[in-house]
């Protein structure tokens, strides 16, 4: 998979990295069990600090998207491991609340909001196989 980072962006690099890898898994660009470069390798190819990559990898590992083996290195988790957990659900609710609150405040209808969610879902399904 091709990771594309914008070093000038307001979004922190570790966040961009994390989101790109999750999106890669979602669209099938990264398949289960696929090896990812080590922290050191990825940091040196990107030309960024080791800690930045480490932070992204640690978060991805905690969320269950990747497995960090001592010998085998970093691999994408098997798909049955990437599921909706209770922990994730509560986190999702907390994260969605300010977003929905703003939409609500601006007078957005539920259907309109649902539509946007639906479109993103279908987009992710369709882009599988293409490069993001």
């Amino acid at each position: 998979m091709l990771l594309k980072l914008d070093l000038q962006s307001e979004i922190p690099i570790y966040m961009q990295l994390k989101m790109q890898i999750i999106e890669g898994i979602a669209t099938g660009n990264l398949s289960a069990g696929e090896p990812l470069p080590s922290v050191r390798q990825l940091a040196s190819d990107l030309g960024i600090n080791l800690h930045t990559v480490n932070k992204a990898y640690t978060m991805l590992k905690q969320d269950g998207f990747i497995i960090i083996h001592r010998q085998k290195g970093v691999v994408v988790s098997p798909s049955e491991d990437i599921t909706v957990t209770n922990e994730y659900l509560s986190q999702l609710k907390t994260n969605l609340r300010p977003i929905i609150t703003e939409a609500f405040c601006r007078g957005m209808a539920i259907d309109e909001f649902n539509m946007i969610c639906k479109n993103i879902f279908t987009e992710l399904k369709q882009t599988g196989g293409e490069i993001l």
Binding site: M1, L2, L3, K4, L5, D6, L7, Q8, L30, E34, P35, L36, P37, R40, Q41, L42, A43, S44, D45, L46, G47, I48, N49, L50, E130, I131
Partner: protein, 377 residues
């Protein structure tokens, strides 16, 4: 005989060096010009084209003059001493290259700011996560062949030791006459395996550098760029392995000629010349085929899966490159990066390991020279 030997030397050292110097701007990536990041379509700019042309013409003209002048002493003065001008003028050629380089570098820098090519927003970096999962370098097992050659040299020296004359030549001059003699001993004959091991260390080190180097992917066409970079490393790793093999075999051959197994004088003098010529010409041809980072490979092939378009150019990292030649970036953990002028790699001098490796290499070269002097005394 003398004049023809001089001519041969000329062909071996000067012409290829001069060609390598003159083609530098043609084999560098299109996005970097004399060490300055420029947009790819800037190559259609008339001033850029003029800078390129003037560099090529100037290096050929002055380089040609330097070579002719440095050859005059060896043709007119019929003495061995005159040949010492030859290596000195290779240094002159390289110095000339850097003088012209700096001039062009500054011109491009001024042009860049005048044309407003500086794009503060183009800080996009692309990395292929599968880069090192696919084949990108020749197998390190090829280096076993080196050990094989070195072992053969040692065994043959040991077995044939009694047949070697008591006095062995230390070298030959350009007429094929023996320069000097030394007493035969195991110590003096160790010279060949030591040179061979030295070459092996240098080649393994270069190979290791090719593997370690940071990947550079052009955002304009990432899929193709990634393939180009892999092929580039693969081709040059084969070149490194082959060069080392040929050199080590040649040293073994020189050892055999000391045994008196090879009698033909012409072969003894000409072989090193032919080998060097082959190595240099090989590098010129490969440079023209691959281009820096593989940028000249698969040029006719359609792009492999890209929807980036041609707008974003690569990350503008001019501020980390002193004179466009020396990379200093303390943020960047990689210590081996692609050069910005010519073919190959250079160090990130902000990393201590770069200095450690350089000093280590220097110590190795000095240690080797001292040792080889001791052995042949």
């Amino acid at each position: 005989m003398k004049t023809s030997v001089v001519l041969l030397l000329y062909l071996t050292c000067y012409i290829p060096t001069l060609i390598l110097i003159a083609i530098n701007p043609y084999i560098t990536r299109k996005t970097v010009f004399f060490g300055v990041c420029i947009p790819e379509d800037a190559h259609s700019n008339a001033e850029i084209a003029a800078i390129k042309k003037s560099y090529r013409n100037k290096t050929l003209l002055f380089g040609g003059l330097i070579s002719i002048v440095s050859f005059l002493p060896s043709i007119f003065i019929q003495s061995e001493a005159a040949y010492s001008f030859l290596p000195a003028s290779i240094f002159l050629l390289v110095a000339m290259m850097y003088i012209f380089y700096f001039k062009c570098h500054n011109q491009v820098k001024i042009l860049k700011s005048r044309m407003n090519w500086i794009d503060e927003n183009s800080q996009v970096v692309i990395v292929d996560t599968t880069f090192r999962n696919k084949k990108f370098i020749a197998s390190p097992l090829w280096f076993i062949s080196y050990l094989f050659l070195i072992t053969i040299t040692i065994i043959l020296t040991y077995l044939l030791y009694d047949t070697i004359p008591e006095k062995i030549p230390t070298g030959w001059n350009f007429n094929g006459e023996v320069k000097g003699w030394m007493q035969k001993s195991y110590k003096t004959l160790l010279w060949a395996p030591i040179v061979q091991s030295f070459i092996m260390i240098i080649m393994v080190f270069s190979y290791w550098m090719i593997g370690k180097a940071k990947q550079i992917i052009d955002p304009a066409d990432p899929g193709k760029s990634s393939d180009q970079n892999r092929s580039f490393r693969y081709i040059w790793s084969i070149y490194i392995i082959t060069t080392g093999f040929v050199l080590i075999a040649m040293i073994g051959f020189i050892q055999l000629s000391i045994f008196g197994l090879i009698k033909n004088k012409l072969v003894i003098i000409a072989l090193p010349q032919v080998v060097v010529l082959g190595i240099v010409i090989g590098s010129i041809i490969l440079s023209l085929i691959t281009g820096q980072g593989g940028s000249r490979l698969f040029r006719n092939k359609a792009s492999v899966g890209s929807d980036y378009g041609n707008k974003i150019s690569r990350r503008d990292d001019d501020k980390y490159w002193k004179f466009g030649l020396f990379y200093f970036n303390s943020e960047d953990p990689s210590f081996i990066v692609e050069k910005r002028f010519g073919i190959g790699w250079t160090n990130n001098w902000a990393r201590p390991i770069s200095w450690i490796l350089t000093i280590g290499l220097l110590v190795l070269v000095i240690g080797f020279t001292v040792l080889s002097n001791k052995l042949t005394k």
